[in-house]
């Protein structure tokens, strides 16, 4: 490590601290991280960048999301075959939702209800009304459904099936599969751009991100990654997040321990940010100033300055951090 590098880091930390100091006046965001092995949620304050509390939830918590008002945290308790609803004011599980067996990941309708859940062990997507806890539909999909994305208008739900290697397009009114796009091996995440014009699907084993035109259901670009000194096999894209202006995308690359910064207009990879080990999921603060990555093997999260494209800090959380979501102020 060279001195100049240390200097830059120091300067950055100071800059980061200065910026965070400014942000504190406006109030902090709350970052929630699910710890798959510990059955807990780590709660991080976005000003202090430290764990402020740890909440107990059901077994094997993975997918995690918030109600629109930020009052309820939904957690897939995979091994308990249910979704826990946590009161974010008290940190207590207040009720459970019917999720179908082995819920892994889910997505909330843009209007806040219903919740669409991928049942990994059951080749099914379960649609649950979060108010009445009624199962509205079960949609048969491919083997090991995981990734869940919903178009900004809420009309189209996209589920990826890890072993079938498809993105299934589901009409949210009829609950029917209306189209399938074959992608590379083990698709993990489906993420729409804010304008709904592109759909990004990461393929963990295939090592690519497919950018799909949701209208024609054609792949318009397959993004590949290459990092000097890292084998092709270690590059395993999972989490994908886009900025609201549609200019940049961030892709978590698993055991490559990097988050790729992609120009979302040209689809060129511009940069790789070194984070913790086995980076899977990503979340951004609503003001898009911070990006948080869960690093499953090093048991921490990396906090990334989105503007500077620099890693600010690692925060130690629980065992096997899996999912991450950020609440409103």
């Amino acid at each position: 490590m060279s001195w100049s590098f240390v200097d830059r880091r120091t300067v950055l930390t100071v800059m980061g601290a200065a910026w965070l100091g400014a942000a504190a006046e406006a109030g902090a965001y709350t970052i929630y991280v699910s710890n798959e092995k510990d059955n807990t949620i780590s709660v991080i304050d976005s000003d202090k960048l430290a764990v402020v509390s740890t909440w107990k939830v059901g077994r094997r918590p993975r997918g995690i999301t918030l109600s629109l008002d930020g009052k309820w945290l939904y957690v897939c308790a995979s091994d308990d075959n249910r979704v826990d609803v946590v009161d974010t004011a008290t940190g207590k599980v207040v009720r459970n939702l019917r999720s179908g067996p082995d819920p892994e990941l889910f997505v909330l309708h843009p209007k806040g209800n219903p919740l669409y859940i991928a049942n990994e062990d059951d080749n099914m997507v379960t649609v649950v009304d979060v108010e009445t806890n009624r199962v509205l539909a079960e949609v048969p999909v491919g083997v090991e459904p995981e990734g869940m994305g919903i178009s900004p208008d809420g009309a189209i739900l996209v589920n990826t099936s890890e072993t079938t290697n498809m993105a299934h397009f589901i009409d949210t009114t009829s609950h029917q599969v209306v189209g399938n796009v074959l992608v590379d091996a083990r698709p993990r995440i489906a993420e729409f751009s804010t304008d709904g014009k592109t759909l990004w699907v990461s393929s963990e084993v295939g090592g690519t991100v497919s950018v799909i035109d949701p209208a024609s259901r054609q792949i318009i670009k397959k993004i590949e990654f290459s990092i000097p000194g890292i084998t092709k096999e270690a590059i395993q894209p999972v989490g994908v997040r886009l900025t609201k202006d549609g200019k940049r995308a961030f892709v978590a690359l698993g055991p490559a321990n990097r988050v790729a910064v992609v120009n979302a207009e040209t689809f060129e990879v511009e940069k790789y940010l070194l984070v913790g080990q086995r980076v899977w999921q990503l979340a951004m603060t609503p003001d898009e100033k911070l990006l948080i990555s869960t690093n499953g093997v090093s048991n921490d999260v990396s906090i990334i300055d989105v503007e500077a494209e620099k890693v600010l800090k690692s925060v130690r959380v629980g065992g096997y951090p899996w999912g991450v979501v950020v609440g409103p102020k």
Binding site: E120, V143, T164, M166, P255
Partner: protein, 408 residues
């Protein structure tokens, strides 16, 4: 698949609706990409296997009657879940031969019935006889169990693809681990069966390859002591067999499991046992749960009502490889599938963290191997630091320049 094994009784009626939904979606394939197939195209896959001899009166861990078959059934179910979107229907024909029944005739009759893909769970000689009898036919064979190196060398066949790892791959995986641990001086204990001798040969080759030393080698001459009952007389020689030797670790070659388990804790010096017992290299293990393997374990256990075994996994991979090639190419003709599977575009995700592919020079599946002790996963080969210009997976087994295989 039991998709409606729901905990919620209220879902019973929805289950019926869903069943209808599935039927409709099969009858009317959905989505523009697949809309051209009104009737699903059938893909017939057979698993040819031999009835195992009945187990002895008491066997604590008997070979299940459906070993291998259960893996094939799960893979066909997985393929068909995908097939409902692509307009394909996979059918598994289960051909279990009686003792003495002719394997070649059975294979010929399967092909005559329209089977284009044949997974073979038979010893090397019978596999070769089938491969030669079916030469020129439009059929692909998958070797799911024979580990013989000659099947990937002098006796390789163009119509055979190997899902089972070779002895060279198994011993290379162990040797890499021993080299990584710097346990370099091996004491090789070789059983009386032909397979044991081949395993020992493979171990010697692996030792040379990874800089280990065979410090001592002895044949095992005390019979199947691991199968002896507690009140059986124990040969005194077996107790002093390992005395006065200078070695780091004992490597046992006992593929039948007749005596290898006897050795641990009975060596003269406190030494660990690896090889065919103790720490072993394998394709699958019940304690393996990373890279999504936990999903496969629970899916298998739910359908077969037992734990998944390596042979189940190897058959599962064969059937899934066919499904993967059909989905990718939209072709169902065995020669088209063969062409694709041999190529660089083919990649099989199989819960090993990397995608698997075939070595074009001998049609052996490249795959990481698990190093396990009976109740724990110890490591995954290739070990870190063993590099290769193509892929680290090619550090296991015979590489292209050293292969004796001439495919024909």
């Amino acid at each position: 698949m039991v998709p409606f094994r729901s905990r919620h009784p209220l879902l019973a009626c929805q289950a019926i609706c869903l069943l209808l939904g599935i039927c409709i979606s099969i009858a009317l394939p959905i989505g523009p990409a697949w809309a051209q197939t009104p009737q699903p195209v059938e893909i017939r896959i057979a698993l040819i296997t031999r009835q195992p001899p009945p187990p002895p009166l008491y066997e604590f861990d008997p070979v299940p009657e459906d070993e291998g078959l259960a893996g094939g059934r799960l893979a066909v179910r997985d393929n068909n879940t995908t097939g409902q979107f692509t307009g394909h229907r996979y059918i598994l024909e289960e051909e279990t031969l009686e003792e003495g029944q002719d394997a070649i005739a059975a294979a010929r009759s399967l092909v005559a019935r329209g089977v284009g893909f044949l997974a073979v769970n038979l010893p090397a000689d019978e596999l070769l006889a089938i491969a030669d009898a079916l030469k020129g036919e439009n059929v692909m064979l998958f070797n799911v169990s024979a580990t013989d190196d000659r099947l990937r060398g002098d006796d390789c066949r163009a119509n055979v693809f190997h899902m089972a790892p070779s002895r060279a791959m198994l011993t290379d995986a162990l040797a890499q681990f021993l080299a990584f641990k710097r346990w370099r001086r091996l004491f090789l204990i070789v059983g009386p069966q032909p397979g044991d001798k081949l395993y020992a040969e493979a171990m010697k080759r692996a030792a040379r390859k990874f800089g280990l030393v065979i410090a001592a080698e002895k044949p095992w001459e005390f019979g199947p002591l691991a199968r002896a009952k507690a009140d059986s007389p124990t040969t005194a020689g077996a107790l002093t067999f390992t005395q006065n030797l200078d070695y780091d670790i004992a490597v046992v070659a006992d593929e039948a499991g007749d005596f290898g388990d006897y050795l641990a804790y009975r060596t003269w010096d406190p030494r660990l046992v690896v090889g065919t017992q103790g720490l072993i290299a394998t394709t699958w293990h019940p304690t393996f749960e990373v890279w999504g393997a936990a999903q496969a374990q629970t899916r298998f256990r739910r359908t077969a009502d037992r734990l998944m075994r390596p042979l189940d996994y190897q058959v599962w991979m064969a059937v899934r490889a066919i499904g993967e090639a059909v989905t990718q190419t939209k072709a169902t003709d065995p020669s088209a599938v063969r062409q694709f599977i041999r190529g660089t575009e083919f990649s099989l995700p199989a819960y090993k963290g990397v995608s698997l592919s075939f070595r074009p020079w001998d049609q052996q599946l490249r795959q990481p191997l698990l190093l396990v002790q009976p109740r724990f996963l110890v490591s995954v080969a290739p070990e870190q630091g063993f590099l290769h210009q193509r892929t680290p997976l090619d550090t296991l087994g015979f590489d292209q320049p050293e292969s004796a295989c001439k495919l024909q």
